[in-house]
Symmetry: C2
Subunit: 709 residues, 2 copies
């Protein structure tokens, strides 16, 4: 019995598992080591040690922060809560001195009777109150113990003395609570709802959406079999259940753009440094995130080669070559590919990943009018992907100067909204690049102007670029999912209808059982003939209840149950995933009946989400209402001056009160999301009279401001 | 007037162009600089300087080799031809000493009255006799002159003295001519057919397939608008005209594998070093070609991350995690992606590129029988892609032990054949991996054996992997293309029928012209209704002749011409691309007529190619016939012992006579291509009696041997 097992046993703490694995040097390698060795659902715990800034005469007391690996731990905010001036991550030396451990082996278990009194221990209260499983190292980066959050805190509490207690901080709400006074912290004593759903069967999601949204999100993705973590940090495996949604989107979008005369092509993933860096503004937007290949086999490359973060600069030298006459216009190419943006922010499946799948369209026109028209045509297709395929409402508009695509002329966007977090999310963007990439000092893409009577005039082409990514899938999950798991809109569900045989008991005769199964198969066949993606779940050895849960978790829009009574009555029980509503329907004419029901589900899912979005758009005309509206998880719509300094100011003022800035975190201050095209839904702006509530200057257009992803 | 212009002018040589550009440091950067600055079709010339090995007392005379950039220049073979012992690339010092130029600036123009007599100058005879344009540096890596091959040689000839002449060597045939005696070289005096097609209009291919096959191939790809060169060497742009073929293949194959229960998914392009290198045999096959990302933005990564060359080791740790019970089997995943193999051999569009598109299927089964069955099912789909979609005959068989997939159990293949070069080409492979990746010391993928009565037994899963790439497109081009350009099989042509208005002259009235154009448009619509991909070419300002050439070059299977007489007779003239056969057909019932004609074209293209392949398969039973058969551009089929040493020996003996080995070159010696499944087409092998003609041991099966790509 080793020391960890022994001390846990002395507290009657029984770890869910205790495993050995190779040394781990990062969260990613740790996660991989665990995923290979166990199928347990868990979260990693990170243990960070900070050294506070103190007067030179005072010995600093290290601060040990214990949090979920994916929780934002803002050193500034924590310091403020602890009434400390500033904290910095401690050196390796200090770790060795205090704990005799390297940073990879550190864990809450590194605290013991000797070390605990010498440090300040801060625990995320969402761990403290959680029954979910967490992975912590057992005094070595090569071993892991799985403990519930409550167990972790129980372990720490037994180290407490009269004067030294652990401090619980609600890290999630460090961001949201604008009204919270900045004062010395005290232990958060109140018992919180830990998001664990009571009585949930083994396969259910296990975390409540409204309580622990990030935990819920990753749980849904894993349990619905959409995604798995991968051994390279920030990259994820798209399993068939999510990839099939992407296939539906690509098929629909492909057909639509081909109608517009767009052709598909494929450009290499590699971009030479020189070409990548040709457009200054553009590359500034991307260069911190570019992944570089420097070696092939055992040979160093002569010059490093970039993996495309997007393909403007890779493609446009060839546009210059191919476009020789106005007869070569318009040129409309698209490609379906993956791009790499090596973000150092917290990755989030689908929403922010280091490699992601998308399409990028790149078009060139003779005139601005044609380019403008296409920008909006494509944006409308993006709107339809969200609204018609994914049943997710979006608002179309134009981005502010600050938020537009680096190097472009203007950017249009469809903006989505995640009610649970109250944050906006950019759905997809369609950019007019103007002549910025075609001008002579850039890529020099021109034709002889066919309208110039002298025949001497050159016209530089007008260009657009536009992209839609697998982010779509993440937005859909966040908007529609519930505490049973995923809820799929029928149009993108790879299985739209699952048929489950019911009423089979131990007493059921083989003949009767076969009859029920046959009826299910027959029904699936009938539905398929009507073009419905139906599946009969005839798995042996699983109860109907298990199957119900399984398919609910995976979000199948409609379940049909068939038992002996149903066969007798020539009917089936329909159960909607989105509402839970059950309804028996006759088997005669079942194809059209089910088709109609799927259409209803699709349109009602959209309507409900739309109503929520609409009710979260708050018309604001006084500054005092801005932050409370944001804190109330709503989007501010206000008449805005459209001045960039004002936008910076709004971001700062809406963030400052509630949370210090952290560049690794999603924006805490509000930024402009879009200037909606549909301005008439708000009261008219009177030129020269309606003022911007933020700066008092003349307002131009109603603009959406919000916290965002 | 600079010195280059002056000396060319003195010889009455007028360069097609003379341009300045940024310094170039490699063929890739040079090519890019040129492609950005010009739309001229050209080939780069490389100028290599070698130092021969001599006795210590003798001063070595440098050898200057002038060749097409993509021509294989085998130092050993050249040395032999020149009766030299050995040659090595000269140092930079020697270049500076002789030419006062760095290696990037070197070109035939570096030779002048001073330097020429001091060196041996060797020119590829295919340049010497060519009227095509070549790019050569004008004494600087930042300037380029475009000269015909004849101009280059004219320049060099004027430097000749009575004792020092240039030497022409036929580099292409250095490989093929087994019978050529190895002797001191002499200038190749005979005038060769240069492959230039006389009287070809500006847009035609310009190079004869049978004379300069590599030149013809790249010309067809460029002129048919399938592909463009790219600024990163070994990578190419797939333009819509070729990408659409890939789309046809993916759609067909996707539908077929989904019928087999395969699901699509997406795994990240990145693989950690540890995971990549887990299977030793496997990684040995790939490691020299792996591209490594070592930097993101300005930060070095903690450990380098590989870009997948294939995904076995990336995927299988997750298979181990996901497969927990025999109920999870079979697991059948596929992905459409790109992979990177940073080959240092000569790249060739579609056939050998550093990044290429493919699908990779990875499946796991409980039993070997199931795995075996799937290997063959998939192989048959690959056969059908070639034979039914691309009209390219292939022969299905199994690879020898030496040629099988690294780390697998056995590899099946569909082998194609390129008659013009007489080389075999691997079409696509379907591997059974056996339990090699699933065994405990590898990825440890097992289930409890459901058939083990004790319930204790473990079964390691049986795995397959299989892939089909864009190489398909290159094979199709090589097999079907002709001296007019591309010839597309109807099933994969994005435009199957082009309708060209004819008989419009200066005298034609506007009304009459409109009537003809309307008839063309009407016909296109009618054909589209029959599911035919038809297009009316109503471009103004182009003659019918130009349009004919344009679409012939692009390989459109069928042309329909409509003129005033055709309208009067309610008919259209059909012109087949594959045979040139013209035939008037009535417009009544035109949809079915054209559909039937397209079917005929498709099947006749296949039949003709099949007949050629069949007639190139030569049954050989005596060793003496092997090399002559290969030299006659045929495939040897012989009863083979299947011993690996014998295969090595065959390769050496069949290569040695005609050409020394060069690891950068395609195999010059013959290797085994496949052991065909269909053995009965050759006379029965009598066990213990039929002998292997190579080694005299007992023969096992008829095996195809050939030179190959």
């Amino acid at each position: 019995m080793d020391s960890v097992t022994k001390s846990l046993a002395s507290l009657s703490i029984a770890p869910a598992a205790y495993i050995s694995h190779p040394d781990t040097t990062s969260p990613a390698t740790w996660r991989e080591a665990l995923h290979v060795n166990t199928s347990t659902t868990f979260q990693l715990v990170k243990t960070l040690v900070y050294k506070p800034k103190t007067a030179k005469t005072v010995t600093p007391v290290p601060v040990v922060v214990i949090a979920r690996d994916d929780t934002e731990t803002n050193a500034g905010a924590i310091a403020k809560k602890l009434n400390l001036k500033e904290m910095r991550l401690a050196s390796e030396d200090l770790l060795t001195e205090f704990f005799s451990l390297d940073k990879n082996s550190l864990s809450p278990l590194a605290l013991n009777a000797t070390t605990f009194p010498k440090v300040v221990t801060v625990v995320d209260s969402s761990i403290a109150s959680s029954s979910s499983l967490f992975a912590v190292h057992a005094l070595s980066s090569a071993s892991t113990v799985f403990l519930s959050g409550k167990d972790i805190v129980a372990y720490l509490r037994h180290l407490e003395t009269d004067s030294v207690k652990i401090q619980e901080l609600d890290f999630a709400n460090l961001a949201g609570s604008a009204a919270a006074p900045v004062a010395a912290s005290k232990p958060a004593a109140k018992e919180k709802d830990d998001g664990k759903i009571e009585g949930a069967v083994q396969i259910a999601i296990g975390v409540k959406k409204e309580v622990d949204f990030p935990g819920w999100y990753t749980n849904v993705l894993i349990k619905a079999d959409m995604l798995d973590y991968y051994s390279v940090s920030g990259c994820y495996i798209l399993k068939p259940w999510s990839y099939s949604i992407w296939e539906e989107i690509t098929q629909w979008f492909n057909a639509e753009i081909k109608e517009l005369g767009v052709q598909n092509s494929y450009f290499p993933m590699f971009v030479s440094q020189k070409v990548l860096e040709r457009e200054k503004d553009h590359i500034e937007g991307f260069s911190p995130e570019v992944a570089w290949v420097t070696r092939a086999g055992n040979s160093d490359l002569e010059e490093p080669i970039a993996i495309r973060p997007t393909s403007e600069t890779a493609m446009y030298p060839y546009y210059a070559k191919w476009i020789k006459s106005h007869r070569d216009l318009p040129l409309k190419l698209n490609q379906w590919n993956s791009v790499v943006r090596w973000e150092f922010k917290n990755p989030q499946p689908f929403l922010r990943t280091r490699e992601f799948l998308w399409q990028e369209g790149h078009t060139a026109f003779l005139t601005q009018a044609e380019a403008d028209t296409e920008v909006r045509q494509i944006l409308d297709l993006y709107r339809r992907v969200y609204e018609e395929l994914l049943a997710v409402p979006v608002i179309a508009g134009v981005k502010s100067e600050k938020e537009k695509f680096a190097g472009g002329l203007y950017t249009t966007t469809v903006e989505g909204f995640i009610p649970t977090s109250g944050r906006g999310i950019q759905g997809a963007t369609s950019h007019c690049l103007g002549q910025n990439f075609s001008r002579p000092e850039m890529f020099n893409i021109f034709v002889e102007d066919p309208n110039d009577p002298t025949g001497q005039g050159k016209t530089y082409v007008w260009q657009n670029s536009w992209g839609l990514s697998t982010r779509t899938i993440g937005v859909m999950v966040m908007v529609h999912g519930d505490n049973q798991g995923l809820v799929l809109p029928p149009r993108v569900a790879s299985v739209q209808v699952v048929i489950v045989p019911c009423g089979i008991t131990a007493k059921t005769t083989d003949e009767s059982r076969a009859k029920i199964n046959d009826a299910c198969e027959e029904l699936a066949k009938t539905l398929k003939k009507s073009g419905i993606r139906a599946k009969a779940d005839l798995r042996e050895g699983y109860t109907p209840g298990y199957k119900f849960n399984d398919w609910e978790q995976k979000g199948v829009p409609l379940r049909l149950e068939i038992g002996p009574n149903d066969i007798a009555k020539q009917q089936t029980l329909t159960v909607r995933r989105d509402t839970g509503v059950k309804n028996p329907v006759g088997l005669a004419d079942i194809g059209p009946t089910v088709s109609a029901l799927l259409d209803t589900i699709q349109s009602e899912m959209y309507s409900r989400a739309k109503a929520t979005y609409d009710s979260s758009l708050k018309e604001v005309t006084r500054w005092d209402d801005v932050v409370p509206t944001l804190d109330n998880k709503c989007v501010v719509v206000m008449p805005w001056c459209e001045v960039e300094e004002c936008e910076d100011d709004i971001k700062e003022r809406s963030g400052r009160a509630s949370e210090p800035q952290d560049e690794r975190a999603p924006s805490a201050g509000a930024k402009s999301l879009a200037i909606p095209f549909d301005q008439v839904r708000w009261s008219p702006i009177v030129p020269g009279k309606t003022k911007c509530p933020a700066c008092g200057k003349d307002a131009k257009r109603w603009t959406m401001f919000g916290r965002s992803y």
